[in-house]
Structures are given as C-alpha cells and as structure tokens.
Amino acid sequence: MATALSPQWQVTMADLKGKVEPDWCPGCGDFGVLAAVEKALVELQIPNHNVVTISGIGCSSNFPGFINTYGMHTLHGRALAVATGVKLANHDLTVLVTGGDGDGFGIGGNHFMHTMRRNVDLLYIVMDNQIYGLTTGQTSPTSRVGMKTKSMPFGNIEAPVNPISMALAAGATFIARGFSAEQKHLTELIKQGIQHKGFSFLDVFSPCVTYNHDNTYQWFRPRVKKLEDDAAYDPRDWVAAMEKSLLWGDEIPIGKFFERTDLPALHAAEPVLESGPLVHGECRIAPDVTRSFVQELM
C-alpha cells in the first residue's frame, strides 16, 4: 500500500523512535547499529509504514521493537525465510532483516545461504558479536579458536565461519562489513544496502560488552581499515573481494567488499509479479482461466 506522501511530509528521527527504549546492556554495540539504521532511513526519506524490520531471536533480534516501522520479531534463525515471504507478497516494501551471528550463521545458516543465492531484495544486517549473549555467553559460529565461554570453558576448538567469504561464495550481490563505532561509515553502508536491488549482506562488528572480553571496541579500533580508503580497491572484482575477506588479524577490512548490479532481484525475475505486488492484485481468477483448469482434466 504505497501511500503518497504529502509534500510537507518528512521522515524524522522522532518518527522512527520505537514504543520502548532498547533494553540492551549499556555500551552494547547494537545501539550504534540502531542509530545508523534510523539515520539511513531519514537520509533516504523512506516513510516508516513502508519499511518492515524483521528479526529472529537474540539480543540484537529485539531490534524491531526499538524502531517505529512495521516489525516482525519471529523465530530463532527464521527471519530471512519470513522476510522472503514478505518481500514476495509485497515488493513495494523496504525489508530490513536484523539479527545476530548465532541466529544468522548458526541456527539460520541454511536460510542464509539460500536467501543469498535467490537474490531476495532486502538488507540483512548481522550484529556480529562473536558470542551468544541472550543465553548468557556461549560460543557462536564466529567465535575465534581458543575463546573460552561457558559452553567451551577450555577454549573453542572449532574453526569459525567467515561470513564475508560465505556470502561471496553463496552469490550475494552486495556484501559489506561495518563497525558499530564507525557511525558515519556504517550509515553510508546501510543506505547503499537498502538502495541495492538485490540481497545486501552487512556484517557489523557490534561488541558484546558483557560476555565477549576478547573482541572489544579496543580490540577492533586499531584493526579495522576502510576499503573505501584504498583507491585501488574495486568492489566489482569478486576475486579481489574474496582475497580481502580472508584478511583477519592486525588488519581487518570494513566497508563495501562487493557489489554487482547485473542480476535481477528474485521478485523482478518472476513474471507473476509483473503486474504489481501480489497483495494489491485481484483475489479471483478469471472464469475462462478456471474453466481451462477443469478442461485439462476431462
């Protein structure tokens, strides 16, 4: 239902303020992501009723309740599947999916892979803190080897996933990494991700100040290097992006790793949607068509 905006209508930060204040721990990286999303929506002037923010379960998945858009706070790991349904039923909507590393790369890993290859037009923001927070500190799929948690008290012996390389391999058409403490940079990436016509993946370092004492703000700050500062880096180059994605240690790239614009988003590739979003169409099928369905069986 795209409602025409009156000329005076302006999306402001106040419009996007949720019904309740975020209940994240003081200092949580997720505050920075929420602020950057709000700034991006204001800068892009997208009316809040045309935005659906969809999440799974976890600290960061409480996000939809803290922003005044349409929201869906779904099941653990299932946000991308729900979001795909929303987008296909009404592709006029701007769909944001927000969640954590456990939600997206652990329990939701299967949907993550398939939503990328389908090129569903949405922005998926993972607030990646390398730990399970809401369940009080267990190893996550992005926890480093050796990290001690309540579930691996003698240190993690499993290799972590590399979300950026995974997204490249799975065929995501926009892939970026942000840092919650880099507000301007993050806001810019969110804007680009929303505007990209296809699946946009944004992995955001969003430190957990309560349970992850390894990957802190202090740990990230000297390491993150913006890809945008390297004039020679071309985000259209998939191989270069894959190489950059493997960097981890003293230097960790953030910024836009990869974007391609030559592939249609899923809804744009589907002839059934040529005449507009499903929810706006006629419910009834024309009688001559239904007659043909029966005739086939006679």
Binding site: V20, T74, L75, K87, A89, H111, V279, M298
Partner: protein
C-alpha cells in the same frame, strides 16, 4: 448392489502402468462414468511392483472395491501376485510370450495375447500394453472410436506416424479380443454426464487457487508433491507466486511472511516435513497470522513407508507446537471435498487469525476420482476477516494490533498502511505489540493476552457445523470414521444393510473444533459403535475419548500401508457383532 467394473494393471515401475491407466480413466469419464483409481506403488523409479486399480460405473464410485473384473499383468511377477484374487466371471489379459499365468479358479477367463504376431515389438516397446488396452475395451463393450480418439490426443505431438502406429496396435488388440475372448456379460453403460478426473492433490491446489491463494511454497515430499506440481505449472495463469524452498522450516516461515504481508498463503507437506513446521505453527498462532498447512499423511514413523497410506498424524496435528493456541484441523472426506475444504478453512483461518491444518492422506492425495465440474466452485465465499489494507479515514493514531476484544479477534493491519505500524512478535506481547516477555514480565497482561487468543476457540466452534449421521437412522451398527475413509465405510454400510445388518455412518470432517457434545448425542442412541481408522493405536478413538469420555464397542484398524477395502470392514463388523472380537485388524490380501 451397484454396477461397477474394475480393471487392475500390474507391472514394474517404468513398464508403463500409468499410461494405460490414464487412457482408461479418460475413456470412462468421457463415457459419463464415475471412476476411482488407486495406485499401489513403491519408492522406486524403475523396478519394484506397481498395481493400479481403476474402478468405474454409472453411479458414484468412492473406493477401489473388493473385486477385480479384469487383470492386466505386464510381467510374470504381477500375475503371480494377483491371479489368485480373481473370482468367477473375471478375466486376465496377458502377453502369451512372456507370461505363464498358472492356474486360475473356475470361471476365470485367461486371455493370452500373441503379442509379436499382432504388433512389431522391435519397434514398439510398450506394444503389449496398447494391445491389452484394446483387448480390454473390446471385452468391456466399449466402441473402438473412444480409444482411437484418446490415443490420437496422446500421441499427436509426436506426429501422425506415431498416432497411426499406436492406433493400429490398439485396433489389433481390440479385434483379436473380439474374435477370441468372451466379452463381459454387462457392457459398460454410457451416460450424458461428463466428469473431470483428478487427484486429491490437484483438487487441493485448485481449491487453493479458487480460495484466492496468492502464495504457495513447498519442499518436495511424497505424497504431497502433486500440490506443488500443479501450483508450479499453473502459477502464471492463476497469478500465484510459487516457490520451492530449502526445507519445510523455511516453507512455513516464508508462507507466514507472505501471509503477514496480506497474501493468502498455503503450503503442503507430509508428516516428516510437518514435524519441521511445528514451531512455525506456533509463530502463526502467536503473531495471529493466518496460514494454511496441508499434511498428506503417509505411513510413519520417520521415513516410514513413503508411498503408502495411513491416518497416523492426528496426534501430531493436535500437539503441533508447544503452548496452547487456537487451531483448526479439517480432514477432507473425498477428492471433490479436498477442493471445497480449502476455501472453507481459509475463511476460518483468516477470520480468526490462526493456523489452519488440512489433514489429507496418500489415499486421497494421490488417488484419482471423477468429479462433476459443477462441484468445483471457483467463486466460493472469500472472507478475509478483519483486515485493514488502507488507512482509516477517521484513524486517530491509537491502533493496537492485539487489541483485547470479546471475540478475541483484533483487526489486522498489513505492512504498508500508514498510521498502523506495529511489531508482530513471537514473544508474548501487550495489546500494542510491545514485548512483555523480557524486561518486565507481567502476569496480568500475560493472562489477558492468553485469554484473548483462546476466546477465538468459541467463535471457531460456532463457525463449523457439527457432523451428521449418514445412512439409515435405525441401524444395528454405527461405524465412525474420519476423513478419507468416508467412501469405503459408506460402501461397507450399504453391503451390510443389503445383507440384513442395517448399518449407518458418522464421518468426521472437522477434527478441531470437534463438536463433542453433538457426537455423543448421536452416538448415545446407537446400538453398536465401531471406530474405523487407518492406524495402529486408534488415534481418533483416543482423541474422541479424551474430549468426550465416549468409548465405542469396538475398533477396526489397519496399518499395513494399504487402504481399507469394503469387505475388510464388512467381515470385521460381522465378527464383532458375533462377539468374537472388539478389535479387528483386517489382512490386506493384495500383495503390493
């Protein structure tokens, strides 16, 4: 007894059992005859043993029946398995060069076809099948023209030469049978009626299209895959978005997403896939987003017997997802009903904003039935319930998605409508959608929201009619069944009544809400009650008892993977009325 004629075709998968079956089905339905087809098969693409039974007649044919009139074995294995089932008056048409039939009982006509003399088998690998079809129709008293017409349609894409070759082979079989075999005493009649022949899966898919389903997604799983196939093939004509998803967890959640955005959404699976969807059903209930899930039951547990039928998923449906929530569960009574029930359950799911489950089974999903096109209403009532799709003129900005109401139903705004932003959450929430699960849980609010949702149960019960007794009011025995067993129980009742044991039937179509009081009112006057169901533990009997304390006099159960045949029920009823047993488990004599 009504006039019916049953043809059975047996062979290995890949030998071409399906094509003759399709040809017979077309010819019978175009002759104005009803038909029922059931294919007993296995989870194999080539080999094994497939046994297709097509039963036809001028009156409604609701099940495979007890008798095979004509057996067409395509290999030795098939004749070995099934010749013994033939009784006086039946016939067996077979390839004399590859099959040795052995001894049949007196009065069974053995009809050997000299296949290589009648057709060039080096050119046409399925010549024996086409010859047999021709021979069968000659013996059944059907004119050759009907067969010529169907074969022409079937092969016209391959060119005139192929059409001519196949028609020629069929004619050779037809003429050979006319000259050498004794025709059946009662030729197949003709009527003015014309029927569509369809599977339950096609019926449910078309029923969805008629009901305004705009989003369908699925993961392939027998025996539900036919719904996906129809939907995919007709998506563009019907304006339906059809997606194949990575798993059933994704399926149900994607369907819920599309439903939340305002599209009627449906998905189908079998028991294993349904198990994966369970958590999603709870999401549908908690967010109050209506979605319809079809479960086509197959023999379980686990992978079970993927190609065999059972009514074994009832308790999974009753218990799907944790916590208490309103749900609707309906089981179609036959294939035509599989069409009709979809619009009905969508209206209830939409009005009461809750999940709806359609409980079919392999027998209905993959079985085929002649359906009068008049019974396929493509303009059924569509009631979307209290759905807000545009900003309200007098909206005062105080929209509460989960407003507490007497009915328990709160008007549902779809995303995109200005002034109605809210969050739908899987967590418990307040009237305005704000979570009460985490920061400050609140027993008063939790109780109020729980009661709000559960108040819908009364409305749902009022929206669904109670079941009614079928057959004579005064009967010695009342048979109780649910869903797909309607036809076979009905025929068993007719046979029993003819044999001097008046029998009637209570068939359940709505499992939730059950209308327990109405059921007990009907059954309290019954002389002898028997529950008939296709499972081991009496799932419906246990459910009925848990809801009403009603205990029947006896049970007839079958859990060998094959459906009931009328005589299974008739014999078991006689055994139980004679006091020999309270639990009968009929033996399936057809080895498939």
């Amino acid at each position: 007894m009504k006039q019916t004629f049953a043809i059975a075709i047996g062979g290995a998968a890949g030998q071409g059992v399906a094509t003759p079956g399709d040809i017979f089905a077309k010819i019978f339905s175009r002759r104005g005859l009803h038909l029922n087809a059931y294919n007993a098969y296995q989870s194999i693409i080539r080999g094994g043993h497939t046994f297709l039974t097509i039963r036809t007649g001028p009156e409604k044919v609701t099940n495979m029946g007890d008798r095979i009139d004509l057996l067409i074995p395509l290999n030795q294995d098939s004749v070995d398995r099934h010749l013994g089932l033939l009784t006086e008056g039946a016939a067996c048409v077979y390839n004399a060069e590859t099959i040795k039939p052995g001894a049949a009982v007196d009065g069974v006509q053995l009809c050997p076809l000299p296949v290589s003399k009648l057709a060039d088998i080096t050119r046409n690998k399925v010549a024996q099948n086409t010859l047999a079809v021709g021979a069968a129709l000659s013996m059944a008293g059907v004119g050759f023209k009907a067969l010529e017409e169907v074969l022409t349609e079937q092969f016209k894409k391959k060119g005139d030469a192929v059409v001519a070759e196949n028609v020629g082979i069929a004619r050779a079989g037809y003429e050979y049978a006319s000259a050498n075999f004794k025709p059946f005493p009662r030729p197949l009649p003709m009527t003015e009626n014309r029927y569509a022949v369809m599977s339950g899966n096609i019926a449910m898919a078309m029923g969805g299209a008629a009901a305004g389903v705009k989003f369908y997604c699925a993961y392939p799983m027998s025996p539900s895959t036919g719904v996906l196939h129809w939907m995919a093939a007709h998506a563009r004509k019907a304006g339906i978005m059809v997606r194949q998803v990575e798993d059933e967890i994704g399926v149900v959640n994607m369907a819920i997403g599309a439903a939340h955005a305002g599209a009627r959404s449906m998905c189908a699976t079998s028991g294993g896939g349904f198990a994966l969807m369970s958590e999603g059903l709870g999401l549908s209930a908690m967010m109050e987003t209506p979605v319809v899930v079809i479960d086509c039951q197959r023999a379980g547990p686990s992978t079970g017997v993927p190609t065999k039928t059972e009514q074994g998923d009832l308790w999974q449906m009753l218990g799907a997802a944790f916590g208490d929530y309103p749900r609707v569960i309906a089981c179609p009574l036959d294939i035509a009903d599989s069409f009709k029930i979809i619009a009905e359950i969508f209206n209830i799911a939409d009005r009461f904003q809750c999940p709806g489950i359609v409980l079919s089974d392999l027998l209905l999903s993959e079985g085929r039935l002649s359906v009068d096109p008049k019974d396929l209403d493509f303009a059924p009532v569509i009631d979307r319930g209290e759905l807000i799709t545009a900003p309200e003129a007098n909206g005062n900005g105080g929209y509460k998605r989960y407003k507490i109401t007497m009915s328990g139903v709160s008007p549902r705004a779809i995303p995109g409508v200005a002034g109605h932003t809210h969050t739908a959450a899987s967590d418990e929430h307040d009237e305005d959608g704000v979570l009460i699960s985490d920061e400050f849980t609140n027993p008063t609010k939790r109780r109020a929201m729980m009661e709000k949702r559960m108040r819908k149960v009364a409305g749902i019960a009022a929206a669904v009619p109670p079941p009614e007794l079928g057959g004579p009011a005064d009967a010695d025995v009342t048979l109780i069944g649910w869903g797909s067993t309607k036809g076979v129980i009905e025929e068993a009742c007719e046979i029993l009544t003819e044999q001097g044991i008046p029998a009637n039937q209570l068939q359940i179509r709505w499992l939730v809400p059950l209308h327990g009081d109405a059921i007990v009112n009907i059954l309290k006057n019954a002389r002898h009650t028997i529950i008939v169901e296709n499972n081991y533990s009496g799932q419906f009997a246990r459910y009925l008892r848990s809801e009403t304390s009603f205990v029947p006099d006896g049970h007839i159960r079958k859990y060998d993977g094959e459906p009931f045949m009328p005589h299974h029920i008739v014999n078991a009823v006689k055994e139980q009325l004679a006091g020999k047993s309270k639990l009968s488990v009929p033996e399936h004599e057809v080895l498939v």
